[in-house]
Symmetry: C2
Amino acid sequence: MVNYPNKQSNYNKKKISKSNRGMSFETIINETNEYYINNEKAIIHKKPIPIQIVNVSYPSRSAAVIKEAYYKTPSTTDYNGVYKGYYIDFEAKETHKETSFPLSNIHSHQIDHLRQVNFHGAVSFILVSFTKLDRFFLLETPVLINFVNRSLTGRKSITLEEFVQYGYEIKEGYAPRLDYIKIVDQIIEKRLNHKN
Amino acid sequence: MVNYPNKQSNYNKKKISKSNRGMSFETIINETNEYYINNEKAIIHKKPIPIQIVNVSYPSRSAAVIKEAYYKTPSTTDYNGVYKGYYIDFEAKETHKETSFPLSNIHSHQIDHLRQVNFHGAVSFILVSFTKLDRFFLLETPVLINFVNRSLTGRKSITLEEFVQYGYEIKEGYAPRLDYIKIVDQIIEKRLNHKN
């Protein structure tokens, strides 16, 4: 969404030539979303972090300064927006584990939120980064819910093999970095075929 | 979304019997959205206020305390969510004027955002409260854009008469307080008829 004309050209070169090691998953997604916006593909934003503001001071002639505030537990997922009129909603999580993704990484109210928006027809999912493997997966909400249900009596995580089998792997690219909209297209097509 | 079983029963009675005078527009919309969520009608949330956090302290054994932070200009609208699979996006504004709504009330990047999501098929609009008149209007983005364009060379506001003529008036109710989804239904129907 923003160009940085004043940044040294080395900065961008470095970013292009290097792999993602050290680049946070959030940065990868934000860059992807920026690409989608700039290329008029989709409008998807990260929501601001919810903060409980307790004390604000107004120094004379200058802007308000928040002097005391606390992080609130988010009641929704981090990302949402619009693609081809569809409501898109997802949560992004990374794990340093190499063989499975612990479900405890996702807040229960975020799972509730995904369940709710899914009920109302959203295209909703989680994006999971296995940082040590440089592998990325998209898992649709209904599939996630199945694993959440399983965790009530059994395994508390989703294995890498299960991501391979029940999710969509997204190969990393350059522009966009993580083209998850390609998978959203598949999901929409699947849905439309189901209707007919 | 939340029940307050411990609140005195008088509290609710008062709220029901009184008019909105003193009740902020934001509260009215939040109550409406809560109603929609509780009644499985739609999932629409207010986004958190964007904050630039500068300094956080971690007192021992307790949660993080934000010690210095600043309000950031929002780059999107305040409300978005899903209804029947459609992406819904709007900004809510109130005015104390009795005959017109000044366009300077809406940040230019919020107008850009509405323009963008409209382009991508969102059902997007502004909700405007004329607080002194207790009248509420929904104005779709394309209509808003026309008035924004007019303001470049002419009038910098939208008159009450124009809201009556080009917008949708929403009569206030009890549950939900401001049933804007009813208008969204009309917009969707109009759109579907247009396609056929």
